[in-house]
Subunit: 374 residues, 2 copies
Amino acid sequence: MNTAEAIMGVHLTDEQRLDWLRLIRSDNVGPRTFRSLINHCGGARAALDALPGLARRGGASKPARICSREAAERELENSKNRGIALIALGEPDYPARLRMIDDAPPLLGVRGKASVLASHMIAVVGSRNASAAGTKFAERISRELGDAGFIIVSGLARGIDAAAHRSSLGSGTVAVLAGGHDHIYPAEHVPLLEQILPAGAAVTEMPLGWEPRGRDFPRRNRLISGLTIGVVIVEAARRSGSLITARMANEQGREVFAVPGSPLDPRAEGTNGLLKQGATLVTEGSDVLAVIRPILGQHIEQPAEEPDGDPPRLTEPDSSERARIVNLLGPAPVSIDDLVRLSQSSPAVVRTVLLELEIAGRLERHGGGLVSLV
Amino acid sequence: MNTAEAIMGVHLTDEQRLDWLRLIRSDNVGPRTFRSLINHCGGARAALDALPGLARRGGASKPARICSREAAERELENSKNRGIALIALGEPDYPARLRMIDDAPPLLGVRGKASVLASHMIAVVGSRNASAAGTKFAERISRELGDAGFIIVSGLARGIDAAAHRSSLGSGTVAVLAGGHDHIYPAEHVPLLEQILPAGAAVTEMPLGWEPRGRDFPRRNRLISGLTIGVVIVEAARRSGSLITARMANEQGREVFAVPGSPLDPRAEGTNGLLKQGATLVTEGSDVLAVIRPILGQHIEQPAEEPDGDPPRLTEPDSSERARIVNLLGPAPVSIDDLVRLSQSSPAVVRTVLLELEIAGRLERHGGGLVSLV
């Protein structure tokens, strides 16, 4: 099954799910690389078979670790025992809006009431170090939006996030985790999470056993925005994680709402800044609903997918062509378009070489189609 | 001299200034009626002569009081003794932007350093019942804008207004009064006003001896916005005077800036509301300057003036025509366009009848060209 088929909404077989899991849990394979591999090789099984060759041709210093069948079976088994469903991109239960982001997780680990993910969702996020007024406001707007039928998505953090979850326990709320389902951060919110699950859910793309590190939180934030129609930023200092969520939302074409605050309050610097950049000002739930209701019914656009040839295009560059393309790369980001132009190779060949470098752990992808050597 | 001549920037003779003063101080003559009268009669002297006839034809129950030559001479004399200049609309010292509003005062009483009125001005206004944060912010932004070369205009009220004046005493600030120069409100701000005058000014359209009543403050607010390129609203509750100033600014085509605040702070309800309606969000002086600097150099547009025929058009309706037009009027506001259409009279005739009713104290003018009988 390739992603184009998956997006049509069919279920994976157990064997396919196992292959998907092995592929996404292998070294140097993130959501984007996963998609490229599936497109390049025609399916997860073929991609797993191709990994060693790709890594070797990409110049890997040591063979890239491939997740073993046993490890994947163990994760599936442990997940099942803990009541975690691993929903694949394109399966009917996969959240419709999340599917549209270009780095959507191939497998989403869902605990709790998975059916809430079929509802319309709005994120309410903000500072951990929240003021009493900010906390109160987060409670109020989450209750208003929950009462209006929306599921409240947040990050289970202290402060605003916790307030958002707490006041939407009854209407339904989704906690997006930065680590595995067995590594809840902060640990003091384990009881809150248990309160969330009866009418809501916890979701993560990380495997069981994964303890979240600093860089996992910004990565997680793209899922918070990706699940939703829009994000409400309640309080945010300058350079805070909530602003990353707002930026992700913008990049994903989601609505950004910000709550104003006094210019003398450092916790409002981020939100006032968002308002200056064009975020919608929110002082009550109806401000959000007025923007969101008209777009609720709109058809959710399919992501721009590379055309999926069948049989897959196995465009193999020869070694001199590969060397020419690698030679054009360095630590400074360059655009893939420039690479194609300067190498005089076909786009398909350039993509293949980049994929090899990626699997070899030698390529970094930046925003805007830019790449550099690690 | 008609208004078209006045706008060309020539000085009135002493005799003309006396006539202007008598006309604007007569009953039922406000700034708009003053303009209509000058246009209709060709000059202030002719208008004074025409008043009794207009009032009679308009159906006045008693003769309208006309300001006597002696009273006007006394006001001019008293003003002079107190260092108050009465600057006429169109004279070179009349503030350039104020001249452009359609109810600009024919005579502006100016005390202090009149030359500041030639500078670019920005209003900083807000609640009397200001918070410490609001007061501090008003001080900060007034200082920043003052340092950037702008004169700060405000209303001498307690709270935000006083903070705005105080922090721009050195760079120059203008207090716009709702009463006469000898009736400062609140009285406790008389010492503040004395501090303002060396590098700033106090202005009013009201005569000496006029004690400000409630309705004089909204009327005054149009001068605060009218003098300026834009108004900064620092804190404002719902339905506050500062929101009237913002509305006036909008109607006059001036920029509206608002300072955000917490949705839980009632003193931010007005400003947050303005932001929702499209006001520019301000957290520092540079936010104001970024909007204002590009329009500073722009040519200030002349107001839409009725064509000023010479000799003036003395379009006299006959009594049946007059009765037909008056008959179309009632307590519910109707548009002048509808009156013209329904009466089948010429626009000039309709205008004349309305002017007669106005002088007779029987007409009320509303926004958007609507009129009703009192």
